[in-house]
Amino acid sequence: MDHVVLRPADWGPEFVPQAVAESRPRTVAVLDGKCRWQREPLPAGVWASLSRYAELPGRDGKGTVRVTAVATVHTSELGADEQLSTTLEEVLRCREQEIRPGERLTELGSTGTPFGLRGQQWADDNVYERGMYVTREGAHPYVWSVARVGTVTVGVSVKGAAGHTAEELNRWVTQSLPQMTGRVKTRTGKEG
C-alpha cells in the first residue's frame, strides 16, 4: 500500500504534501445520504486503504492545484468491482457533492469502461468522473478516476485552480493512474 500510493514528488518536482498529508489510518471516504463526503472506519470487505494528499502551490497568478491518490485493498474481486459501481452510483445519486463546508462538486458526469471495451486495455475496469470544483475562489474543472486491478482499486482526483486548463488536469490524471495500476500489477504478479 505504502509503495503503491503516489507521494507528492511522484506527481512532479514542484508538488508538496498538503497540511494533512495522509488519510487517518483505517478509514475510507464515504458519500453519506446527504451527499456529503465523510471519513468512516474501514467497512467489512476492505483490508486496508490509504490516501495521500499533495498540492502544486500557486504562483505567478495561478491557483493551487490539489491532488489525491488513493489505494484500497478489498477482500474479494467482487468487492473491488463494486467500489467502481458505487462510484458510478454516486453520480446518479448526488449530481452535486460536498467535500467539506465551502468545497462543492457540481455538474458531475461519469463513464465506466470495463477492460477490453472502447480500447481500454490497462485495467480490469475504469470509471472516469468529471465536473466542477466550486469554492469561494470560483469554479474550476475537477477530475476523478478510479481503476481496478484484481482486488485492488486505485484512484486519483485533481481539483483545478485558476490558471490551469482542463487538459493539464487530465494529463496529471492520465499519467498518475496508470502509474499506480502498474505498481499494483508488479506487486501482485499480474504482469510480467
Partner: protein
C-alpha cells in the same frame, strides 16, 4: 494479389515479377523478387506517360525523396531507375495490413499500441523533416503495420516545403479529413511545412484510438470546412495520449509540437516504444502472420515462371477491379464521398485506392489528389458492365441470441419486396439477399463488407443489435450503402457520423423519457428504483443515466443502484432498493439478468411497477424468469400491428405468406423496406445508385404502418415526432401483450 496478365513482362531490370498488386491509368504495381531474392513492390510507369517530361520529372523527384528517407519506420527504397524507357521504382514489400484496414477489421488499437504507433510515426516524420521534406499525405491508408512497428509509405506527394509545383494548380493536395487546416484552406497557402504532417499525425492517432475520422466524413468541402473551423471530437482517445493528440490538432501550426517532441512525449524517454514490443492485438498479429506466410509461399527466384495459361480472366484489363486476398478491405480513411457512375464503379475505384494504400504503392506525381481528379474526370475502370439485378439485402442475427428479431425482420423485408415484384408496372424486379451474423460483431463486419462489395446491393435493412451495428456500420459507410436499422438503440450509432446510416427508431436515451412517464403516470411511483446493470455496459448506462437526470430535473425521488457485472446474486441490491423505499424498479440491462432480478423481486413479493426497455421483449426473459416475469412491462420501439389502423392488411398478408402472425419487428422491417421501395420509385426506371437512393430516402419523410419515418439530412438521426412507434408490452399469463403506444406525457 492478381495473376500476371498476358501483356506483363516476366522480368523488369532483373526483378522476377510474381503478380499484380494493382493497376491504374498510368502504370502497374507488381509484387516482384529482386535478383537477391527479396520481395519488393515494383511500380512501373507506362511508356506514354514517361514521354511527358513533366511527368518524368515528378517521378524522378519521388525517387529522390524516397532515397532520402532513411527512417526504420518508413518503407525504404530498394532500387529505382527513373531514366529507363519505362521508369520504375521498387520499395520494400510490407505484407501487413494498413492501419485503416486493421482498425476497420479489428477495432481501435490498445493504448500501449497507440503510444508505439505514435512514437514511431513521429520518429519517421522527424527523420523526413530533418531531411528537409514534408510527407503531406499521412493517413491511415499510408501506414502499414508490421510486427515490430508501423511503416510509413507513399512519398508520391512528399517534397520540400518551398516546392509549390503541385499546390500552384489550386488543387488540394493530400487527403481531406487528414489535412492540416493550412493545407485545407486552399487558396493562399504557398508553404505547408512539417507542422502540417504533425496535424495529420494527430488525425491518424485519433483514428487509431477511436476508429473514427476526427472530422467525420461527408462531402469534401464540408470536411475541409470542419477541419479549418471545428474542434475534433476526442471522446474515446485514451487519456494518456489525449494531451499529445490534442497538441497535434492545434489549428495554429505554430502551437503544434514538432515531430521530435511528439516522439519524445510518447516514447517516455524511450521506455514505452523501444525494443521488441507486443504492440498489436492478437487478431492483427495473426493477419500479419497470414500475409507473411502467403508471401513466403510465393515462387522463388528460379522457380518455373508463370505460364500464359496461368493468366486469369483478367486479360481484358480490368486489373483494378480485382483484389488480392485480404487486401480488398476498403479504406474508410480514403472515402471521399464522391458518388461515381454506379455501385460497381464506385466499388472498383475504392478497392483500387485501398489496394494502393495496402500494397505500398506510390502513384507518380499526384498521389491521392490525382486519383481524386481521375475519379471525377476519367472513365470508369475498363470492363464490360453487365446489367445486374437490383438487390435489397438483410443483415441480421438469424442464428444467435437475437434470431427471433432477425428472422422477423427477414420476413418483413421479403414480404415488402415480394409485393413490389408482384406489381405489373414495377420499374424492375428486385432480388433479396439475406446474410446472418449470428450476433457476433466480427461476423457482422464480414457480412457488411460482403454486402457492400456486392454491386447489386442497393440498400440494407439491419443489423439487429447495438454491438453488431457498432462493428459493421463503418463498412457500409465506406461504400456509402444505405443501411436502415430498426432494432439497435444506442444513440452513439447516429452520432458517429456514418454517412449512409438511417436510425429508424428512437434512440435508447429517449426511451428513458417514456420510462419516466410510465412510472410516474400510470404506475404512480413516488420513488423510482433504477437498477443499472454494468454487464450491459453502455446500453444500460444510456438509459439509467438519462432517466436519473430526468428525475433530478423534475425533483422526483429516485434510488439508483449500480450492479457490478461480477455479481450474480441480486438479493443485496434488491434489498438495498427496498430498504431505501423504492416503490418501482426500472432494470437497465439485458434479459438474462433481468430474469435474475425478477426472481428476487418475486420472492420478496414486490408489487410495484417493474419495467425495462426493449431487450426485455422476447422469449429469453419469459423462459428464464418463468412466473416471476408476470407483470413486467417492456417499453420498446416495436409495434403490435393488430393495434394499428393499417396493420390488419399487413397481418393478413404475413399470415398468408408465412402461415403465422407477424413476430415483433417484422412490421418495422416491412415499413422501412417500403420506405426504400418508395425511394426507388421516385428515382424512375433507370438503374438507381446507392447514393441517389440514400438522398431520396433521407430527403422525403415516409408514413409507414407503425410511424412516420423522417431523418435528419446531416446525421441520419430519427426525427422525433408526435408518434414515434414506442409501445408498452406487459407480461400477462406467460406472454407479452401490447398495451398500445407508450404515452409521452404524465396525465395531470
Amino acid at each position: 494479389m492478381d495473376a500476371l496478365c498476358g501483356s506483363d513482362p516476366a522480368r523488369i531490370a532483373g526483378h522476377r515479377l510474381l503478380g499484380r498488386l494493382g493497376a491504374g491509368g498510368m502504370g502497374v504495381v507488381y509484387l516482384a523478387r529482386t535478383p537477391g531474392g527479396a520481395l519488393v513492390a515494383l511500380k512501373v510507369i507506362q511508356g506514354e506517360y514517361a514521354d511527358d517530361t513533366g511527368f518524368r520529372d515528378r517521378f524522378r523527384r519521388e525517387v529522390e525523396v524516397a532515397r532520402r528517407v532513411t527512417s526504420r519506420w518508413s518503407v525504404s527504397l530498394a532500387d529505382a531507375d527513373p531514366d529507363a524507357a519505362e521508369p520504375w521504382l521498387a520499395t520494400e514489400f510490407v505484407p501487413g495490413p494498413s492501419l485503416a484496414e486493421a482498425v476497420a477489421l479489428h477495432g481501435p488499437l490498445p493504448s500501449h499500441g497507440l503510444r508505439v504507433l505514435g512514437a514511431r510515426l513521429a520518429e519517421a516524420l522527424d527523420d523526413l523533416h530533418a531531411a528537409g521534406l514534408v510527407h503531406r499525405d499521412l493517413k491511415p491508408g499510408n501506414v502499414l503495420l508490421a510486427h515490430d512497428g508501423p511503416r510509413l509509405i507513399d512519398f508520391g506527394i512528399a517534397r520540400a516545403p518551398e516546392d509549390t509545383s503541385l499546390t500552384a494548380t489550386g488543387v488540394v493536395v493530400g487527403t481531406p479529413g487528414y489535412l492540416a487546416p493550412e493545407q485545407a484552406g486552399g487558396r493562399d497557402v504557398p508553404v505547408v511545412g512539417p507542422a502540417g504532417d504533425v496535424f495529420s499525425l494527430g488525425c491518424v492517432l485519433m483514428y487509431a484510438a477511436t476508429g473514427r475520422a476526427p472530422f467525420g466524413g461527408g462531402p469534401v468541402d464540408a470536411l475541409l470546412y470542419r477541419t479549418v473551423h471545428d474542434f475534433p471530437d476526442t471522446d474515446g482517445v485514451p487519456e494518456e495520449v489525449a494531451g499529445v493528440v490534442g497538441g497535434c490538432l492545434e489549428k495554429d501550426p505554430r502551437h503544434r509540437p514538432t515531430a521530435a517532441e511528439v516522439h519524445h512525449a510518447l516514447a517516455e524517454g524511450g521506455r514505452a516504444a523501444e525494443g521488441p514490443v507486443r504492440w498489436l492485438a492478437e487478431p492483427v498479429l495473426r493477419l500479419i502472420a497470414e500475409r507473411s506466410a502467403h508471401a513466403l509461399a510465393l515462387p522463388g527466384i528460379d522457380d518455373t515462371e508463370v505460364s500464359e495459361g496461368a493468366v486469369g480472366d483478367d486479360a481484358a484489363g480490368s486489373g483494378g477491379e480485382r483484389v488480392p486476398p485480404g487486401a480488398g478491405h476498403a479504406d474508410p480513411a480514403d472515402a471521399d464521398g464522391a458518388p461515381a457512375g454506379g455501385p460497381g464503379s464506385t466499388t472498383g475505384r475504392r478497392r483500387f485506392l485501398a489496394l494502393a494504400g495496402g500494397a505500398a504503392l506510390v502513384v507518380a506525381g499526384g498521389g491521392t489528389a490525382l486519383w481524386a481528379a481521375l475519379d471525377r474526370e476519367g472513365p470508369a475502370p475498363a470492363g464490360h458492365p453487365r446489367r445486374s439485378p437490383c438487390t435489397l439485402a438483410l443483415h441480421a442475427d438469424l442464428s444467435g441470441g437475437d434470431k427471433a428479431t432477425g428472422l422477423a425482420q427477414e420476413r418483413g423485408l421479403r414480404l415488402a419486396v415480394e409485393r413490389f415484384n408482384a406489381r405489373r408496372n414495377r420499374p424492375y424486379t428486385l432480388a433479396v439477399r439475406a446474410e446472418d451474423d449470428g450476433g457476433d460483431p466480427r461476423a457482422a463486419l464480414r457480412v457488411a463488407k460482403t454486402l457492400a462489395a456486392d454491386p447489386t446491393v442497393l440498400a440494407v435493412v439491419g443489423p439487429t443489435t447495438d454491438t453488431t451495428a457498432e462493428a459493421s456500420l463503418v463498412a457500409y459507410d465506406t461504400a456509402l450503402v444505405p443501411v436502415v436499422a430498426v432494432s439497435p438503440g444506442s444513440i452513439a450509432l447516429a452520432l458517429q457520423g456514418y454517412r449512409s446510416f438511417l436510425h429508424a427508431r428512437v434512440p435508447d436515451s429517449l426511451l428513458a423519457f417514456y420510462l419516466n412517464v410510465h412510472l410516474r403516470g400510470s404506475a404512480g411511483s413516488r420513488r423510482v428504483g433504477i437498477v443499472d446493470d454494468r454487464a450491459a455496459d453502455d446500453h444500460a448506462w444510456e438509459i439509467s443515466s438519462t432517466l436519473s437526470k430526468v428525475l433530478h430535473r423534475d425533483g422526483h425521488p429516485q434510488v439508483p443502484e449500480v450492479v457490478s457485472a461480477l455479481r450474480s446474486d441480486f438479493r443485496p441490491p434488491v434489498d438495498a432498493l427496498l430498504a431505501a423505499g423504492a416503490d418501482s424498479v426500472v432494470f437497465a440491462g439485458y434479459p438474462d439478468r433481468a430474469a435474475l432480478i425478477a426472481k428476487v423481486l418475486h420472492d420478496r413479493r414486490f408489487a410495484g411497477a417493474r419495467v425495462s426497455a426493449h431487450p426485455l421483449l422476447g422469449e429469453r426473459f419469459l423462459t428464464a424468469a418463468g412466473r416471476a416475469a408476470e407483470g413486467w412491462v417492456a417499453v420498446a420501439p416495436a409495434a403490435d400491428p393488430a393495434l394499428l389502423p393499417a396493420g390488419a392488411a399487413f397481418t393478413a398478408a404475413h399470415r398468408r405468406r408465412f402461415g403465422a402472425v407477424p413476430a415483433r419487428y417484422s412490421v418495422e422491417a416491412y415499413d422501412v423496406t417500403n420506405m426504400l421501395l418508395a425511394g426507388l420509385e421516385r428515382l424512375g426506371r433507370a438503374r438507381p445508385t446507392r447514393a441517389a437512393l440514400l438522398a431520396a430516402v433521407r430527403g422525403t419523410p415516409y408514413q409507414g404502418i407503425t410511424k412516420k419515418f423522417a431523418f435528419r439530412a446531416k446525421t441520419g438521426e430519427f426525427v422525433i415526432g408526435a408518434d414515434n412507434g414506442v409501445f408498452r408490452w406487459r407480461v400477462e399469463r406467460g406472454a407479452f401483450r401490447c398495451h398500445g403506444p407508450a404515452p409521452v406525457s404524465v396525465p395531470s
